[in-house]
C-alpha cells in the first residue's frame, strides 16, 4: 500500500492535531523572534549557534533515552538495525527541531548580553 508524500503529511497532521494550537503559537512566536534577530543582525553569531546546538544535542540525547519508555516499551524491545536507526533518526529529528526553535531566542539573548 503506497503512501504518497501528501498522504504521509496528512497522517502527521493528524498526529499533531491535538497540539496544533500550541504548536502554531510556538512557531509564530519563534518566527517573530527570528525576524527581530534578523533585523538586529545577530542571527548568525557563533554564540547563538552554539547555544542552539547544545540545546538540540541535549534534546536528542534525552529523546534517545526516553523514547522507548514514552512508547510504553523498553530498550529490551529494540532489536536490529531497523529499531536502533529509527530511534537514532527520531532523536536526531527532535534534536534538530529543538535547535531550530532555540536559535532565534538564543540570537536575541546574545544581542542583549553584548549591549
Amino acid at each position: 500500500m503506497a503512501f504518497s508524500i501528501v498522504g504521509i503529511l496528512s497522517v502527521l497532521l493528524e498526529v499533531i492535531r491535538p497540539l496544533l494550537p500550541l504548536l502554531i503559537a510556538v512557531v509564530v512566536i519563534d518566527f517573530i523572534l527570528l525576524l527581530l534577530a534578523l533585523r538586529r543582525g545577530t542571527l548568525v553569531t557563533s554564540g547563538a549557534i552554539r547555544l542552539a546546538v547544545i540545546v538540540g544535542a541535549i534534546a536528542a540525547v534525552i529523546t534517545f533515552f526516553l523514547a522507548p519508555a514514552l512508547t510504553r516499551s523498553s530498550f529490551a524491545n529494540l532489536s536490529g538495525a531497523l529499531d536502533y536507526l529509527s530511534l537514532i533518526g527520531g532523536a536526531l529529528g527532535v534534536g534538530v527541531l529543538f535547535a531550530l526553535l532555540t536559535w532565534p531566542p538564543a540570537a536575541l539573548l546574545q544581542r542583549s548580553q553584548k549591549s
Binding site: 500500500m1 504518497s4 508524500i5 498522504g7 523498553s74
Partner: protein, 454 residues
C-alpha cells in the same frame, strides 16, 4: 508520459489494471493525471476535478468506511445529493480496543465523534436502515423513512453474533472471568479488569477464535499474547495455563505468519486446541462448551476471551444484496461484490466496502483504506457511464503485536503474498518499530483515512 503513468499505477498496489483495455481507457480519460501533477500516488485514483452530477447517492453506515466514502465522494463530485444514514453520534476507534482491553490504553483514547469527520454539504439521517430494496432503488429506515437513490454505497460493518453462543450476552463481559474486545470501549475496559485479575491470580485461561470471517482476525491472537506477556512481566506466568481453542486448523490466513505463530505459541507454553468451536458458556460455574469433531467438550476456566462468530447485519443479510449461495452466503450472508471492483454484480448501481462485504480476505481498517478509493472511483466512473478502472487487490494488514513493545507489521493481498508498504520493515520479524506505529501512528492514519486523505 504513457510509461510514467503506467509505472505510477503499477507502484500503487491497490490499483491493479487487469486488462489492457482498461489501461487504454484510463489513459484516454486522463484519470490519474491529477495524481501525477500532485507528484504522488495519493491522488492518482481521484478524478482530476470534481465531476458534475445531480445523482442521488446514499451511503448506509457511517463508520470507518462510510465516513471515508462520504469525504471522497464530496471531494470528487459536484452537485450530487449525498445522504449518509448512521444512527451513532459516537465513533469508536476499534483497532485501539485491543490495547484498552490489555490495560495499555485508557478507553478515552478510542472515543471520538462522527461529526468531526462528516463533510459539509451532505445530509446525515440519524437512523438505521431496516430494509434494503435494490429492485426499487430505495432503503427504508427504522423510523419508516423511505430514502430513494440513484447510487448506493453499503458500509454497514458487521454484526458480532453473541447470541450464537448459548448463555452469552454482552452484559456478561467484565463479570465471571469473561472478556471480549469485540464490543465497545466500556466492555474493553471491563475486559481489562478481568485480565488484570487473571494475571494476578492465575488459573486456566481460554482464548477463543470462532469459525468464519471476523474483523481483525489478529485481535484474538494479540489479546492472548499480550496477556501472556503481562504475566511474564509481573512474574506470575507460572500461575496460569494458556489455551487457544480455535475453530479451524490454522492460526492465521497468511502462511508465513501461520508458521511463525505455530512455533511462537508452543514456545510460550500456549496450547492450541484445533477444531474447537465455542458453543455455550455457563458463567455461574465458569464452564465453556466447545463443539468438536469428536463431540462436545466442556472446559473449566478462570478467564475466557469470548470471540463470537460474525455476520452481516440483519437488514443486509436478509436482502437481495447478500450472497445468495456459496461460501460467503454460508459464512455470514455477507454482501455480494465483485472482489476487484467492489461493485454488486447483480445491481450495478450498488457498491460496498468495509467489513460487510464478502471478499476472500479483509475486514480490517487497513482493507477499508484500500477498498474505499476503489469503490468510490468506480462509482464515479459508473455515474459518468465509463468503464470502471480501479481494482482492489485484497490488501489487508495487521500489526501483529506479540508483546508490549514488539510486533510484526504484516501486510498481504488476495494471493497471500506479503506486500510491505515500507520495504525496510521486515514482515517476518518482530521489531519495536511496528509497535510504535500501532501505539502512536495508526490512529492518526485511520483519522486521515476517514477524512479521505489517504
Amino acid at each position: 508520459m504513457k510509461n510514467q503513468l503506467l509505472s505510477l499505477i503499477k507502484e500503487q498496489k491497490d490499483l491493479a489494471l487487469p486488462d489492457p483495455g482498461r489501461r487504454r481507457l484510463l489513459q484516454a480519460s486522463g484519470l490519474g493525471l491529477a495524481g501525477l501533477a500532485a507528484g504522488g500516488t495519493l491522488l492518482a485514483s481521484q478524478p482530476a476535478k470534481a465531476v458534475d452530477t445531480s445523482a442521488r447517492i446514499v451511503i448506509v453506515g457511517g463508520g470507518a468506511a462510510g465516513l471515508s466514502v462520504a469525504n471522497r465522494l464530496a471531494d470528487g463530485l459536484s452537485g450530487a445529493r449525498i445522504t449518509i444514514i448512521e444512527k451513532r453520534e459516537q465513533h469508536i476507534y476499534q483497532p485501539g480496543l485491543t490495547l484498552v482491553a490489555t490495560g495499555i490504553w485508557n478507553q478515552r483514547k478510542v472515543l471520538d465523534r462522527n461529526a468531526r469527520y462528516m463533510p459539509s454539504g451532505i445530509d446525515w439521517i440519524k437512523g438505521l436502515v431496516s430494509e434494503f430494496d435494490p429492485e426499487s432503488n430505495r432503503v427504508v429506515t427504522d423510523s419508516g423513512q423511505v430514502v430513494e437513490y440513484d447510487y448506493l454505497m453499503v458500509t454497514t460493518g458487521l454484526h458480532v453474533d453473541f447470541a450464537a453462543i448459548e448463555g452469552m450476552n454482552t452484559d456478561l463481559i467484565g463479570t465471571q472471568g469473561i472478556g471480549c474486545v469485540y464490543d465497545n470501549n466500556d466492555h474493553a475496559t471491563r475486559t481489562w479488569q478481568m485480565i488484570d485479575r487473571f494475571a494476578e491470580e492465575g488459573g486456566v485461561g481460554l482464548f477463543t477464535r470462532p469459525p468464519g470471517g471476523i474483523k481483525c482476525a489478529g485481535a484474538p491472537l494479540k489479546v492472548t499474547m499480550l496477556t501472556e506477556d503481562l504475566m511474564q512481566r509481573r512474574g506470575t506466568r507460572e500461575r496460569a495455563q494458556f489455551f487457544y481453542p480455535t475453530a479451524g486448523t490454522g492460526l492465521f490466513s497468511q502462511p508465513d505468519m501461520n508458521d511463525f505463530l505455530k512455533q511462537e505459541f508452543p514456545s510460550r507454553d500456549i496450547t492450541v486446541q484445533w477444531n474447537h468451536v465455542l458453543a455455550g458458556i455457563e458463567p455461574e460455574i465458569k464452564r465453556a462448551t466447545f463443539a468438536t469433531p469428536e463431540g462436545n467438550v466442556r472446559l473449566d476456566y478462570d478467564f475466557i476471551h469470548v470471540v463470537p462468530p460474525m455476520r452481516a447485519p440483519d437488514a443486509l443479510a436478509n436482502s437481495d444484496l447478500a450472497w445468495q449461495a456459496g461460501s460467503f452466503a454460508d459464512d455470514g450472508r455477507w454482501m455480494e461484490v465483485d472482489k476487484h471492483t467492489m461493485r454488486h454484480p447483480r445491481f450495478p448501481n450498488v457498491f460496498g466496502a468495509g467489513d460487510c462485504v464478502g471478499t476472500p480476505i479483509g475486514k480490517t481498517a487497513a482493507s477499508v483504506k484500500a477498498q474505499v478509493p476503489v469503490a468510490v472511483e468506480n462509482m464515479i466512473q459508473a455515474i459518468q457511464q465509463r468503464e470502471m478502472t480501479a481494482s482492489y487487490n485484497g490488501y489487508t494488514s495487521c500489526p501483529l503485536i506479540t508483546a508490549r513493545g514488539r510486533g510484526i507489521l504484516v501486510e498481504f493481498d488476495y494471493a497471500l503474498d506479503m506486500v510491505p508498504s515500507f520495504p525496510f520493515i521486515s514482515p517476518y520479524e518482530e521489531h519495536w518499530v511496528p509497535w510504535v506505529m500501532k501505539d502512536r501512528m495508526l490512529h492518526a492514519a485511520y483519522n486521515a483515512m476517514m477524512r479521505g486523505r489517504v
